[in-house]
Structure formats: C-alpha cells, structure tokens
Subunit: 259 residues, 4 copies
Amino acid sequence: MAKRKSIRTDIAWSAVDRITVKGHDLCTEILGKLSLGDMAFLEITDRLPTPRESVMFNAIAVTLVEHGLTPSSIAARMTYTGAPEAMQAAVAAGLCGLGSVFVGSMETAARMLQEALPDPTVDADLDQLAVQIVERFHSRKQIVPGIGHTLHKPVDPRAPRLFEIAAEQGYNGPYVKLMQKVGAQAEKVYGKSLPVNATGAIGAIASELQLPWKIVRGIGVLARAIGLVGHILEEMKNPMAYEIKQRAEEEATAHLRQP
Amino acid sequence: MAKRKSIRTDIAWSAVDRITVKGHDLCTEILGKLSLGDMAFLEITDRLPTPRESVMFNAIAVTLVEHGLTPSSIAARMTYTGAPEAMQAAVAAGLCGLGSVFVGSMETAARMLQEALPDPTVDADLDQLAVQIVERFHSRKQIVPGIGHTLHKPVDPRAPRLFEIAAEQGYNGPYVKLMQKVGAQAEKVYGKSLPVNATGAIGAIASELQLPWKIVRGIGVLARAIGLVGHILEEMKNPMAYEIKQRAEEEATAHLRQP
Amino acid sequence: MAKRKSIRTDIAWSAVDRITVKGHDLCTEILGKLSLGDMAFLEITDRLPTPRESVMFNAIAVTLVEHGLTPSSIAARMTYTGAPEAMQAAVAAGLCGLGSVFVGSMETAARMLQEALPDPTVDADLDQLAVQIVERFHSRKQIVPGIGHTLHKPVDPRAPRLFEIAAEQGYNGPYVKLMQKVGAQAEKVYGKSLPVNATGAIGAIASELQLPWKIVRGIGVLARAIGLVGHILEEMKNPMAYEIKQRAEEEATAHLRQP
Amino acid sequence: MAKRKSIRTDIAWSAVDRITVKGHDLCTEILGKLSLGDMAFLEITDRLPTPRESVMFNAIAVTLVEHGLTPSSIAARMTYTGAPEAMQAAVAAGLCGLGSVFVGSMETAARMLQEALPDPTVDADLDQLAVQIVERFHSRKQIVPGIGHTLHKPVDPRAPRLFEIAAEQGYNGPYVKLMQKVGAQAEKVYGKSLPVNATGAIGAIASELQLPWKIVRGIGVLARAIGLVGHILEEMKNPMAYEIKQRAEEEATAHLRQP
C-alpha cells in the first residue's frame, strides 16, 4: 500500500449555519457586496481586488465574453439541438474548443512577456528584450503571439481601448510597454503592420495584474462560458444550428448523391 | 432540396474598426464601464441592468460560483490531471455534471413559481397557490423544489440573506412571497422543517427579475465555470485528484486483489 | 462525521504481473481473442457474448456508429478547429449532444417495450399491449418512439435488415413482435405510414438481448464515439468547420452590418 | 465577402432507401457482416481490414478499453451523479481527461517511431536509430515514451502479449523492432530496467498498421468511451462517486472547520 498524502483545499467550506469562501463569510461579506467579476478575481487570486484591480480585471474579462458566431458558439448550439434538456453540456461542448488556436494566444503572449521579464520591478532594457523576443520567434519561424489581426486592420480597436483603461488605472507598466515594443519590433522584422491585438493587450495587462501566465487561459474560459449561455438562449428562441447542419450536409454530400 | 430557412443572430458582429455586442459598441460603451456580472445580464436579457437589477443579479450569480469540493469540481480536477494542457476541457468536464441533481433544482423552483403565477402583475391568492403547489407535488410523491437542506439546518443561511437583498432592492414581490408560502405550507403537509433554501430563493428572485425559468440554469452554469477555474488553479498548485483516485482504487479493488 | 460507506468496483484491477477485467485475464483470455464489439458486450453485461449474441450486438452497435454530418459531428469538427491539440475534447463535445432528440429515442423505445412487457417469458397478448401503448401516447399527444422517419420513406432500410439478422440469430421474440405491432397499430390510429425505424428496431433487439433500457443509450454513445473519431480524422485532412462558420457568420450577421 | 471554399465529406450519406458509409452499403454490406472493431478500422482507414489487420487492430483497441478506476472514469462517475439524465455528458467528461498524461504517450511513441523511420520499407539501421532517439530524449531531459511502468515491474504484461500477436499476424516489422531497441538502449543509458510498455507496443503496432501517429490517440479515445460506459453502468447499480466526494471534502476541509 502506497503511503497516503494528505489532501487539502483552501477554497471553501460549509458549516451548518455559514459558508466561507477563501476566508470570507459568503452571506455577510460577499453576497450583495461583491460583483461577479470581483468574485472571479477572488477565485483566481485568493484575495479581493482593489478598486483599480476591479476595473482592470473586469475590463479584460468582459472583452473575452462575446465573439459572436465562432466555432465554439456553433458547437454549443449544435449540442443544444441534440440535448436541449442538458444546457450545461452545450456550454461544455463550446468550452472544449477554447484551445491553442483562439484562446491560447493570450496565454502564449502572457508567457512570452513573463518569461522575458520574470520580475517586473527590475529595471530592464525593454527595447533589447523586444528585439530578443522577436528574433527568437522569427528564427523558429513561429508566429509572435499577441500582434496582428486578420479582420481588424490596421488596428484591433480593443487593444488601444484596453491600454487606455490600463493607463487610467495605473497598469501602464513594463509588461504593457514590452508588448507594444514587441509589436513595433515585429513590424520592422516582418515588414508589415503588426499592431498589438486584443490577446496581446490582455496578456500584457494580466501580467501587470500579476496573474501567472498559466492561469490566463482560465479568464478566457470563464468569460466565454457567459457568452455561450447567451448563444444557447438565442438558439432556444431563434434556432439556426439545424439549418446550418442541413446546408452543410447537402453541399458536402452532393458528390456522393450523384446517380 | 429542402427550402432554406434564413439564419440570423442579434448578438454580436465585428467590423474592421469596431465590435458591437447586443447593440452596444464594445470599446466605447462596454469596456471599462460594464462589470462582468452586468455583461452576463446583458447576454441573458439583451439589455443593460438598472442599478437595482445589477445588485440583485450579481448577488444570485455570486451565490452560485463556489460550492467547495463537489462532484463537479472533483470531475474538473480529475480531468486536469490527465490533460493539463487543455484546462478548458477540465472546466467543461466539471460543467457536464450540472444537471438535474444539483443545479437543476433552481430551474425547477423557478418553473414551479412561473407556471403557478404566469403574470406577476395580476393580483393572485398566493396562499391558495401555495396550497395547490404543495398538494400537487405531495400527491405525486415528488420533492417540492427549493425547500429544505441536508446540511444547512434549520436554515440555509443564503436564503434569508438573498431575501434581505431582494427587499432592499425592491424585489420582494409575489414570487418571493409565493416561494416562502410554499415552504411554510410544505412544513405543514410534511410535518417537518422545510425552510426555503438557496435554490428556492434564487428561483424566486430570478422570477422577480423576469428571467424565464428555461434560462435559470444558465446562470448556474456560467457562475460555476468561474468556480471551476478556481478549483483547477488550486489543483495546479496543490494537487489532490491523483491521491483521491489512488485511495478510491485501492479500497474499491481490495476484494479483487485477495489471493 | 458521517458514517462511511464502503466503495467497490468489480470491473478491473491490476497486479504487478497481470490485469483482470470482469474476471478475465486481459493478456491470456482477452487480447487477440475478443473483438472490440465483444469487449463492449462484456463491459455492458459483465459476461462474454455467445456467438449469436455477438453477431446481434455488433449489428446494433455498428448501426449507430456513423450518421454522416449531424449536429454532433459538426460540433466535434468545430471543437477540433479551436483545439487541435486536444482531439479527445472534440470527441467529447460531439458526444455532449447525444441527448433526447437523436439517440434518446431508442432508449425511449426500449423503455416502452420493457415496461409493457417486464417479463418476456410470460405469454402476453401482444396485440392488446400494442393497442394500449399507442393509446397511451396518443392520448397524451406524445410521439410514439421508434416508428416513422423524416427521410427514409416509406421504410427505414436499417429496420428490416436488423430484424432479418434478429430472425437469423433467434432474436425474433416478443419485443421485436411487439415493436412491429406498435408500428402497425400507430398507422391505424394516426392514419399514416409509420413503419418501425432503426431506433425502434434497436430498442426491440436490445430488449431481446436482455439489456435494461437504462443502458441502451450507452450503446449509442460508445458507437458514436467511433464515428466521431472518423469525422475528426477527415476534418484533419480536409477541413470544413471553419468554412461552415464563416458562411454562417456572414449570413447571420448581414442585417447587423447594414450601413 | 470572402470567396467561398467548397465543403465536402466522403464519410456517409443517406438516400431515401439506403445509407452508404465509406462507399459500402450499410444494410447489405456492413450490418451483420462487420464487427464493431472492423467498423472502427473502416472509420479510421477508409477501407475494410484484412483478417490479419482485423485481429491486430482489435487487439490494440481492446487493450485500451478498460483501465479500472482512473481519473477519467472517476470524472465520468462524478458527472453521472450530478446529471443522471445525461449519460452522454458523463462519458464526455471522462473523455476530456484523455490528454497528454495518459493516452498521449502512445501518440508520442508512434510519432517518435514514424519520425525516425518515415518509410518502413527502406532498409534502415535500427540500432543506430535507437541510439539517436534515446540520445535526443536524454539530452533534452525528456522521458522516452513507451517504456517503463510504475506498477507493472519488471514487465508490463500487455506488451509481450501484443508483440506475440503481432508476430503471429505478421506485424513484427521494423517499428516493433525499433521500439524494442529503444527500450534496450534506454536501459543502457538510464541504467535501469525500462522494457517496452503497453503504450509503446501500441504505438509500434499502430505504425506497423500504417496508421499515422496523429490519429493514434483516436483509438484510445474510442476504446475508452466503451470502458466509460461500463463504469457508468456500474455507478448506476453500485454508486461510489458521492461517497468519494464526501470523504475528500471531509478531509480536505478539516483544517478550515477547526473552531
């Protein structure tokens, strides 16, 4: 028999007459006092946000809630069509696709910044770091995360707005600056317009908020769960999934149905 | 070829230079101005909340974020153990279990109230409705949703706190009263203490907020996604899933391993 | 502290030098000797199939593997597009939609038959049972499960083929007969052609195989997991998900993009 | 408007009177003639297996069906506890955890072999390839996939049994030999016993079957879906998930419940 390790959670517990979450009494200290976004901050960081942190964190989370018809929201709608009694599984199906291609890029951006600048209080040569970062991705023929956008040209409008809020709230620090320098350096190296996009801005601001890069994807996942509920509600009232499936099936099998 | 139906979404769209969500410009009207909870309200109701709606909606959503170690959060942790590169799938696995047993009861409570009182502006005899409701469940040997609790005795502390906030914000209306009368009537009929619990309070307050019962589960799903991210972050830092699995396996297969 | 219940599994255990599954040594009794379908039979029934059971069970499971482009397979493909590094999550997303609308009907058909005829060895008046069953669904304005088909008219070709195999293998018993009588009786009552479809045939044959209705959906789930892997492999080589999404987005947001 | 790409599937289509899967008529050529494992082979390779391929493919798929109580099967059981009406979502939750840690290793093993030996018909120096492979993993301080086992010591009994079947069926080719040489070389370099394990044997044999490494994980996913259905059926009859959760919660929150 293997020796047992102890198991322990510090998240929450319930007594007969009260519930405690991360050290705060749910009924007297949280309900009616904490907004959903601040509760998410508490879940992620183990502490309540300051007012500035609250504005900043809510802004990046809100950015991630809704991206319209995406592969993820279509997957959720398709799933709801088959199992309307299990809405939770439709949201789950939508979340399953939040991997490396879409939500992953802000994780990669945050990682790039935090690995280049492990301690943001140290006075670093950001220009040189930006050159090194871009050189590393370029030499490996990898895409630099957090810059450029296929639709939003020349600028992803979310990035300057998020940086504006960051400046207002005092989060215009080294990670934000480094991210912008990476974009500028990449434009030189790749010879085309590559401004910081929304995932780059979020990766930088999450780093300013001292959120480790490993948990950045989690913000995207919880935010998108909110948006997916919105898509399922619309699918309830005004369905499209079955029609999309019908058309796809008709076209995709046309060559098989020839006589 | 079947005739095509048109497909349409009114949620969001992206132009080259701007993104619109439910008729609001994301960058100028939402980011930095709307909290995550208010964004969820917008997703669910297609409009911005009033200040009172905001307090009330955030309170019920926050109530649902964190329930400690549940089958759902353990499923998420187990999944993370096997696929740490796909955190989104771990949250998805946790959501898959938010069905009839746990989160479903607030949906059932909201449905019970809204079917008994389709139009809350009509002056109805709430005492009589409560008697009818309890009689209907009792005669079918079904559990009345939204009352009683296995752990929180005599009272689930979240219910009076949520009702207190409802009273402060002006949501102490017919659905809240009906829910409380259902609890009182059930105590008479079943002969035991059955105060309104958190799911009953949420079902009633969601009805006061004019949220159709069919979408009530969605609030639980999006809130719990936030809590599940918290559990996965703890599992990253201080894992327990594998140890839980080891112990379960050891005990559950002991009879097979006899010589 | 609550009193502990013991936990126990009888499925499998691993010793240092051998693995046992449902009482059979994996290496010496299963590998190379049992096909995947027979292994599924063992998982579901706790025993090895007879040759006749093997043919019959494999036939109903194989019927359920592939249904072409369905909401479920499109959900899987959409998910793969976003998270190609997590193919397992794409299959999971596809499975999430196998609920009441599609796969549920064979569960409902099996339940209908098994509740009408709990003991198939008892000599029952199948004609009378069929009349009662149809009357019950008709009076509740519910659809009788397992009959009719929107595409396959006048006959779902899988049903007669499955019944043919059932006759060859000796499973042409009371459940198969009752299912056929239900179809014939429904045609009288509803005044239109309603032959037994594939889900009705599978529900009946699963009942002949003594599989409780509660586990019938499981056959559909495991079979469709196989088909979903096939769809993901095709999506790898010849993707369609992103194009489907692009078209849906373009049409569904056209009214929002008007100047 | 972006130019449309055509979409196309070659998997299946349904006419009014027949269904075709990968070019085979479902009713006349597949049902009653193809076993579930052979149907899986057809889904994965687009062709029917030869008798030898059938034995070999079924053997590796069967190996992957059942691993007893694993994080994945516990996640499925936890999910079923909360949503017993949605068994498909419980299987989905279980699949979500089949990532890099458990099922991924056979993918990695197959990739290692296929990248070292892209064309198995070419006469290659397998000893030298094995030295190079081990050197590469060793120099990067990565674990060599497909060798060693924490429980099954000195030998994972599945590996020699699978190799025995491979020899009987004529699949004892260069990939199997290379995998064994990798194990032997690793033993020299790491100075401990590191025989080929089940995932190494499966990775090698899948390569012999000419299955690209990118689809190898799919075999694990479809096989485990079968096993997960078995676990859910046992959970229905003899539940353990809630008890496991109770114990975990009690111990993990003990330090919080101190007065």
